[in-house]
């Protein structure tokens, strides 16, 4: 039972760390974790980055070194070894630590605006640009086309001559 061995060893480590951790706000994490199947490691890393340390200021489980983060990392590892899916692991932790620990908030009654707003904003913005663009195109196409060459050359001239003329606008 490798997982048993590991958690026994982790326990010893944690007692030692607790003393160290009381005052530490921000440190790196250097956990040495082994998996029965290496394909779990990227998932482990990804999960740690999407889960928030509940006790810290604003750190994910991967970066935080608080005692609770160490425990939760071990828990995530244990659950991965039990073949739970990422969603199940998040659900498991959410049921215990509330939505607060999810850095990627779920879409629900409380968060629909959060997820919809950026999309709506971009759509609104782009539709304004398009509408303006279409209106401009239809309103006075001829004038715009006629003036284009001369304006373009004027522009070029301005740029090259450092726009002496525009001083007197």
């Amino acid at each position: 039972m490798p997982s048993n061995l590991l958690s026994g060893w982790g326990w010893l480590k944690q007692i030692g760390l607790l003393l160290l951790l009381l005052s530490s706000a921000a440190m790196a994490v250097e956990d040495v974790v082994s998996f029965s199947d290496e394909s779990l490691r990227p998932r482990y890393q990804q999960l740690l980055e999407e889960l928030r340390c509940p006790k810290c200021q604003n750190q994910n489980l991967a970066d935080s070194n608080s005692a609770i983060s160490q425990d939760l990392r071990a828990e995530v590892q244990r659950l991965l070894e039990q073949q739970l899916t990422d969603a199940e692991i998040k659900e498991y932790l959410k049921n215990r630590y509330s939505e607060f620990i999810l850095y990627r908030p779920e879409v629900n009654r409380a968060t629909w605006f959060l997820w919809a707003a950026p999309v709506l904003l971009v759509l609104l913005g782009v539709s304004i640009v398009l509408r303006l663009s279409r209106r401009k195109q239809s309103s006075d196409p001829e004038a715009a086309v006629k003036s284009v060459r001369s304006v373009d050359q004027q522009q070029r001239l301005d740029e090259l001559l450092n726009s002496h003329k525009r001083g007197s606008e």
């Binding site: 944690q14 509940p54 006790k55 005692a67 609770i68 425990d71 509330s98 607060f100």
Partner: protein, 180 residues
């Protein structure tokens, strides 16, 4: 842009200002428990003093009780301990959850400072701690006669906190339990 459109930024600014004003008094780290209203999680752990005795939620025995998460390495636990002692004297049922600790140290600690607990659950690896969503000690849970968690306090429970957060709820739960 027409006139009303120009007022949009101002209106948004007012709304934002209102939110910011109301958020000022809130503590961003004051987390709710996911377990309030939920049954106390099942567990099977040893008793602190009697390693051969296996504890489970059955040992709560249908009482209204406090579950107090503590450890010898936790400084704040020393501060709240005298109040827990006096609560126990007043007849409040308290169960200890010794969290990520050494058995010997914990036994000595209770011998020195008095033992307010009916019994103490020994959880050296924090297994029950995770199921409860504990993220530090001390924490205190109020459990009703049906074994449902009704309130959670992260941090010290002293006389003031007891009066503000626990007393009335505890009394009401006791009345409910006695009425049945």
């Amino acid at each position: 842009m027409n006139r009303p459109t120009l007022f949009i930024p101002f209106a948004l600014c007012l709304a934002l200002g209102a939110f910011l004003f109301f958020s000022l008094g809130k503590d961003p780290l004051d987390l709710p428990s996911a377990l309030v209203g939920e049954p106390f999680p099942e567990f099977a752990l040893e008793e602190l003093h009697e390693p051969e005795r296996q504890l489970s939620t059955d040992d709560f025995d249908g009482q209204v009780l406090l579950v107090n998460v503590w450890a010898t390495w936790c400084f704040a636990c020393r501060i709240e301990h005298p109040w827990l002692n006096s609560l126990a004297e007043q007849g409040v049922a308290i169960v200890g959850l010794n969290y990520k600790d050494h058995r010997k140290l914990a036994q000595d600690w209770l011998r020195e400072r008095g033992d307010p607990y009916q019994f103490s659950i020994f959880d050296p690896r924090g297994v029950l701690g995770i199921d409860l969503g504990v993220y530090g000690a001390p924490e205190t849970y109020l459990v009703d006669a049906e074994g449902i968690i009704r309130h959670r306090r992260v941090g010290v429970v002293d006389e003031r906190v007891w009066n503000e957060e626990f007393r009335d709820l505890y009394q009401q739960l006791m009345d409910d339990a006695n009425a049945e």
